[in-house]
C-alpha cells in the first residue's frame, strides 16, 4: 500500500486579497510541516502559502534590538518590555489589523482602549474614502454571488483586477457562468474606465480613457445626463460628449449593472467625493434598472477589520481613545496624518507594513519613536522595529474569520502548525493586554 506523504486540504480560503477565494487545495507535508503544493490559487496567493514555510525571512522567536542588531529573547521578556513601552506612552498608535483574523482585530480594539491611544487600520490609506462616502450617502450594494449570477453589465472604474484581484474576473465578474448568465463572458458587457489602457481594459468590451484626477467630473456629467439635462461642454475629462451619452445609455439599458471601483477613485485628488458621486450615480440608475456598487477591498480581511472595529466602537477606522471613549475623525486621527504631525510617541504595528506603504515623511516620523512589530516575516517595518513579536499566519497556521469585500464572512482554515515560537496575533495581543493592565495597576 502506498503511504500517503501529504495531507490535502480542500476548500481552503486564500488569505491574500479581498476576493477571498474559497476553493484552494493545499498539500502539506505533515512531518516537515511545510506547504508542498497549492492548487487553484493565483500567483500571489500561491506565493503567500509557500512563504509561510521556514526560511531566512520568517521570524521564529521574539527579538529585541540592542546596539543596532537583534537579540533573541523569551516571550515573557518581550511582552514585558513591549507592554512597558506602550503603557508609558501618552499617545500610542496601534495600526494595521488588515492581514489577520477577526478575533485579533477585536483584541486590538481592547488594547487601544486600555492604552488611551489611536487605533487605525489600513483602510485609512486605501478604501477609507469609500467609508467616508458611504457615511454621507449610503451604498446600494450586493454580494459577489449575485453579480456572478445576474450582472450583464460590469464596470471596473479606477481598478485593475488582472493585477490586484487576479481571480475576481474568473470567479465572479467576467469569465464565469452564472444562473442568468449561462453563456459566461458572452453574456456580459465589460466597461473599464482608467487613465491607462490596463491589462483589464485590454480585455474589456469598452475602454474609456479618462484624464487622471478627472473621474469626478465624468461621473457628474453622466449623472446630469441621466437626469435628462444636456450638458454644455463638448468634452468632459477627456471623454467626448457622444461617448459619455453612449455609456449612460448602456447603463440605463442593462438588466443588472455593477460598478467595481478601486484606488483610482480613492487615492486621486477627489478621494471620497469620487465615491460619493459614484454611489449617487448607482442609486439614480436604480430609477431605470437594477444597479449596485462594490469596492474592490485590498487586504483579505480589511473588511473584517472595519466590521469588528464598528461593532465594538461604532466606528470603522481612525479612532481615538485618548478621552476614554472612542472618537472618529479621519484627517485628525488617521495614521498618516498623526505621523505627519509627529503627534505620537510609540507605535504597535500589526499585520501591515507602513514603512513600505506610507509616504516617506510619515515613515520618517514613525521611526523617531519606539516601534513594536507583530509580524510573521521580514518587512521594511519590522527590520526597523525595536521589538519583534513573531506571528503565525492567519489562514495558514491558525483559524479565524475573515470578511470578503462584499461583507460575506468566511472561516479561515489551519493547514499546518505555527513554526518555532510563533503565536497567533490574537494570543500575542492578549498577552500584551494582560501585561499592560498589570502595569497600569488594574
Amino acid at each position: 500500500m502506498v503511504e500517503k506523504k501529504y495531507k490535502t486540504f480542500y476548500d481552503v480560503i486564500c488569505p491574500f486579497c479581498g476576493t477571498l477565494c474559497d476553493d484552494l487545495e493545499i498539500d502539506v507535508d505533515e512531518k516537515a510541516q511545510e506547504v508542498v503544493e497549492v492548487r487553484n490559487g493565483c500567483q500571489i496567493g500561491t506565493r503567500k502559502f509557500f512563504s509561510s514555510n521556514p526560511s531566512g525571512h520568517r521570524y521564529m522567536t521574539p527579538l529585541i534590538r540592542e546596539n543596532g542588531s537583534y537579540k533573541e529573547i523569551s516571550w515573557d521578556e518581550a511582552i514585558d518590555k513591549a507592554a512597558d513601552i506602550l503603557a508609558k506612552a501618552k499617545r500610542p498608535l496601534l495600526y494595521g489589523f488588515a492581514s489577520t483574523e477577526c478575533e485579533a482585530q477585536s483584541k486590538g480594539v481592547e488594547l487601544a482602549e486600555i492604552l488611551g491611544g489611536i487605533l487605525d487600520n489600513t483602510a485609512s490609506v486605501c478604501h477609507g474614502p469609500t467609508l467616508l462616502a458611504e457615511q454621507d450617502v449610503g451604498v446600494p450594494t450586493s454580494t459577489l454571488g449575485e453579480y456572478k449570477n445576474r450582472a450583464d453589465l460590469v464596470i471596473f472604474w479606477g481598478c485593475n483586477p488582472v493585477h490586484a484581484h487576479p481571480r475576481h474576473l474568473g470567479r465572479y465578474s467576467d469569465f464565469v457562468r452564472g444562473y442568468f448568465r449561462q453563456d459566461g463572458r458572452n453574456d456580459r458587457y465589460i466597461i473599464v474606465v482608467d487613465p491607462r489602457n490596463t491589462n483589464t481594459a485590454q480585455i474589456a468590451d469598452l475602454y474609456i480613457k479618462v484624464n487622471p484626477n478627472e473621474d469626478y467630473e465624468l461621473m457628474n456629467a453622466i449623472r446630469a445626463t441621466l437626469r435628462g439635462v444636456e450638458i454644455d461642454q463638448k468634452e468632459v475629462a477627456g471623454v467626448k460628449k457622444e461617448d459619455l451619452i453612449k455609456v449612460t445609455n448602456i447603463m440605463k439599458e442593462s438588466n443588472y449593472g455593477v460598478i467595481f471601483f478601486g484606488m483610482g477613485l480613492t487615492q486621486s485628488i477627489s478621494h471620497h467625493r469620487n465615491i460619493d458621486t459614484a454611489v449617487c450615480l448607482t442609486r439614480e440608475l436604480n430609477d431605470h434598472t437594477k444597479f449596485s456598487i462594490t469596492p474592490m477591498r485590498g487586504h483579505y480581511n480589511i473588511t473584517g477589520s472595519n466590521t469588528v472595529f464598528t461593532w465594538n466602537t461604532g466606528y470603522a477606522y481612525s479612532i481615538d481613545f485618548s478621552r476614554g471613549y472612542p472618537r472618529y475623525n479621519p484627517g485628525e486621527f488617521s495614521a498618516v496624518d498623526v505621523l505627519l504631525r509627529d503627534e505620537i510617541d510609540a507605535s504597535l504595528i500589526v499585520a501591515s507594513d507602513p514603512a513600505s506603504n506610507f509616504p516617506a515623511a510619515a515613515v520618517r516620523n514613525m521611526f523617531k519613536h519606539p516601534i513594536i512589530s507583530i509580524e510573521p516575516h521580514h518587512t521594511p517595518t519590522s527590520v526597523n522595529a525595536d521589538i519583534i513579536l513573531p506571528a503565525a499566519f492567519a489562514g495558514i497556521e491558525t483559524e479565524g474569520t475573515a470578511y470578503r469585500m462584499d461583507h460575506v464572512p468566511l472561516r479561515l482554515r489551519k493547514v499546518k502548525n505555527p513554526p518555532g515560537e510563533t503565536l497567533p496575533d490574537r494570543e500575542i495581543l492578549e498577552k500584551l493586554i494582560e501585561k499592560v493592565k498589570e502595569k497600569k495597576g488594574e
Binding site: 485609512s124 488582472v162 487615492q267 478621494h271 484627517g331 495614521a335 516617506a360 516575516h377
Partner: protein, 131 residues
C-alpha cells in the same frame, strides 16, 4: 534627456504583489517595485535603453528607479510606479483632511541618470532613519 509635465500614477501590479509576499527585502522586489513605466512613445524621447536608471522628481521628493516600457499603454504623459517604498518617496503625503494621501495623479518630471544607483527597499527606508 528629460521629460517634464508628466503625471505620476502609483498602484498595484501582479509582480509587485508576488514579490512582496516573497520578502520585501529582496532583489526581486526591487525589480518589481523599483521601476518607472513609460508610454512607449514618451520613452523614445528619453533616448536610452529600457532598464536605464531614471530620477523621478515631484514637489515632494525624488527617487531613482529603473525605467521600463509600459504594456498598459498608450498613456502619453503618464508614468506609473508600482506602490511601495520607491513610489512613497515622491507621492503627495497630504490627505486634504481625509486620511488618505494622494498616491495618484501627481505632477512629475523625469531625468535619465545612466550611473544612478537604485537602492533596495531596506537601504531606501534606512535613509529615513537618519537622526
Amino acid at each position: 534627456m528629460s521629460l517634464n509635465d508628466l503625471i505620476l500614477i502609483t498602484g498595484r501590479t501582479i509582480n509587485q504583489g508576488v514579490a512582496l509576499e516573497g520578502g520585501k527585502n529582496t532583489r526581486e522586489n526591487v525589480r518589481a517595485a523599483g521601476i518607472c513605466t513609460f508610454d512607449k512613445d514618451d520613452f523614445i524621447k528619453l533616448n536610452c535603453l529600457a532598464g536605464t536608471p531614471v530620477k523621478v522628481t515631484t514637489d515632494y521628493g525624488e527617487v531613482i528607479v529603473y525605467s521600463t516600457i509600459s504594456e498598459e499603454g498608450p498613456h502619453p504623459g503618464i508614468i506609473f510606479i508600482p506602490m511601495g517604498p520607491w513610489a512613497n518617496q515622491i507621492v503627495n503625503p497630504d490627505s486634504q483632511s481625509t486620511g488618505t494621501p494622494t498616491f495618484k495623479g501627481i505632477k512629475a518630471k523625469v531625468e535619465v541618470v545612466k550611473n544612478g544607483k537604485v537602492l533596495d527597499a531596506v537601504q531606501l527606508i534606512s535613509k529615513l532613519k537618519e537622526a
